[in-house]
Symmetry: C2
Amino acid sequence: MQLINALRAALGDSAVLTGPEDRAPFERDWRGLAQNPAVAVIFPQTTAQVTEIVKLCADNGVKIVPQGGNTGLVAGGVPAPGGNQIILNLRRLHQIRALDPVGDTITAEAGATLHAVREAAARANKLFPISFGAEGSAQIGGIISTNAGGMQVLSYGSTRAQVLGLEAVLADGRIWNGLGALRKDNTGLDLKQIFIGAEGTLGIITAATLRLYPAPSAQACALAGVADVAAALELFTRLRHQCGPALTLCEFIDGPAMQLGAAHTPGGRLPFGAPAYVLLELSALDAAATPAATLERLLAEALESGLAQNAVIAQSTREAQGFIAMREAVSEGELREGGAVKHDIAVPLAAIPETVAAIETLVATKYPDCRLNIFGHLGDGNLHINIRPPAGQTLASLATRKTAITIDVEALAVARGGSFSAEHGIGQFRLAGMRAHKSAVELDLMRALKAALDPQNLLNPGKLLPVKDLS
Amino acid sequence: MQLINALRAALGDSAVLTGPEDRAPFERDWRGLAQNPAVAVIFPQTTAQVTEIVKLCADNGVKIVPQGGNTGLVAGGVPAPGGNQIILNLRRLHQIRALDPVGDTITAEAGATLHAVREAAARANKLFPISFGAEGSAQIGGIISTNAGGMQVLSYGSTRAQVLGLEAVLADGRIWNGLGALRKDNTGLDLKQIFIGAEGTLGIITAATLRLYPAPSAQACALAGVADVAAALELFTRLRHQCGPALTLCEFIDGPAMQLGAAHTPGGRLPFGAPAYVLLELSALDAAATPAATLERLLAEALESGLAQNAVIAQSTREAQGFIAMREAVSEGELREGGAVKHDIAVPLAAIPETVAAIETLVATKYPDCRLNIFGHLGDGNLHINIRPPAGQTLASLATRKTAITIDVEALAVARGGSFSAEHGIGQFRLAGMRAHKSAVELDLMRALKAALDPQNLLNPGKLLPVKDLS
């Protein structure tokens, strides 16, 4: 094939994989839920090579699937059906180009892992605040293209809030160098906003300048037991009003989810039983501050007023890490014990209790054999609603009901002004939600932007935007 | 004229001003530097009326200038030359539609003043953090369309960071209802980002849902004297590392600017003389916190190490307001004492000292009769570089050198990775900077977005984007 030969000539043989077995791990999303063929998997090492690939593909009418660490949950970084696509894997474009300790910025290439960026920041006594379980694999280009979230969004914002500048290769092969490191710049349209969260459909991000923050000098972590999600919300709003951005973590985990997480954490042990749990972290910068004492005082008030049933403050970093590990192990536990139909909703904070109640009623009445786990980023209004098959069965047993479950859960969130995908994005798996819940005006606007920036539909076809219904 | 009759029929006579004297105050920017005729000034009261106006104008081939409080500095909200435009003034579309004290959000129509939104927030013990001198006139639609800044961006971010949802009327007259109130929502392209900072060129913002924050329970304000901007920067970075977002104000004001501000503040008095000043504010939420004691301790360290020459902590809210008033009076003082060629640059923080040195050298060598004021938002890297005519003369005396001064100052910032308009935007007055400093790729991208969303160039012509050079 002419394109493959041209790519080999331009990038070298080792940068172009075409054998079916070589391609397979890149064609498949990490959960194994989607697999479609690619013509080849290409590994550019420089931005200039990315432009060569884009131009060659455009000339040959072959589409491009940009791929980062392939840790997403919606199959946005692997091919959609339809063939005639190459995977442009960015892992070799992974240099950290600069770190500015005065301006608190870091400039990294798209293929640098989130872990590498966090480590580089930490070596300079700085924090890059985006963090989640897959950070050893997730890459900077991917977290920007998906506007990734995680547990510290509460205090620092999503990935979008961390991006100061971008470099991207456009669908016509030109490089846009927008790698500014400024906190403020109102010179024309803010082009980087177009590419953030666009899932690689409008351009290929090749590098970014990101915000860093002073690393906290001290942190305190606590686990509180509460009666239900309403009590958890009340506890959050009180703490938020007293701590503001110093409250760097506020996770809700219902009892069954927390027990599952504990069971799948080596050495995991819950300090007390409770109907539901809130995981809290308070951070301080000033060396004179005492976040553990502050957290103890605030939790004592919550216990006294009956808002919290129980509370334990971690007595060591290790104990704190243990609490966080149990929270992070919930998804892993679900996967090992049969899987779950996963949802990632957000609603306005005040609507959380009634949304949870409506979901509990839904499951109890329509899916009574299923098990429900609710956990997530309480302060962001973002809850993972995971519906598990009956004990002893796998996800396959829900095959015929999976779509109905998702429609039902998402509708309950959207009806309350909520989102059907708060942080996971759309990719291939949430396109039905786009069709069901987005207005014609919204879809038209998105399509107009896509047509303006990628008129040939070269970039990441079959993702983010549903094909227009021509009926 | 057919359009005027149709507008009168649709909105009523009082909503359509056509007399030259009635139109004049709306045709002229508040500094009186730009004035061009409009066919009429129209005052819609509802979003539905805005759609009617847009459709009528589109049908008649008449262009639309969206106008808020007309407090901008770049004539973005008044007509450009060329005629055939109406001014769509949003002041009557000013309802506050909702305030959610649990989710910390407020939904306001475009014409609500910034002051009205801040007051509504304050009544609920919340803070809306965008604040600047013109807040009594500036409107929500305008601050979003210009991504307005101000003194508290340091801790809370620019206006963009405050916007959770938008309602806008598109160039085809359709309403986009994107008034979500969610902290996280990754369902497709984030359309609101397109309209924020677009200066009304891509759509007309009619309402917004904005973030609120818990109101601080205590604040401490201080004025420090430093040797120069390098010392000011060092003081900032130390405080930022110890206080993080609790440092809610960090303004730099050079000696001459501060003296001018003091002279134009009723009862203004500088507590000490200094080559340059840093204005600081520390905020706390926790009622048990003592920001004044913290600030005193940190400033004592700065004095001991010689970083600060002098420092005074305000002993009352009134004294604190007095410090801030002197800072805010600098622009007013310049205006009253002959005016200034104003600039609004940003550079990476580490480049501030050498940028300031280069500007001082520029003025001393090329414009030695002029006076230089440097002040602004130090922590954002955003400085106002204002070049004043010789004592006793007005801005008119710089008429022949004004353009050269601006080109020189902006080039020094841009050469250091900086911006030539950090917070003021482009409007009509900074189009030369767009031509000089933006790459062909950037201008092409902006034009592609404009063509996609407003193919007839109906919305705010002659702003933001320079006309394409066809030579």
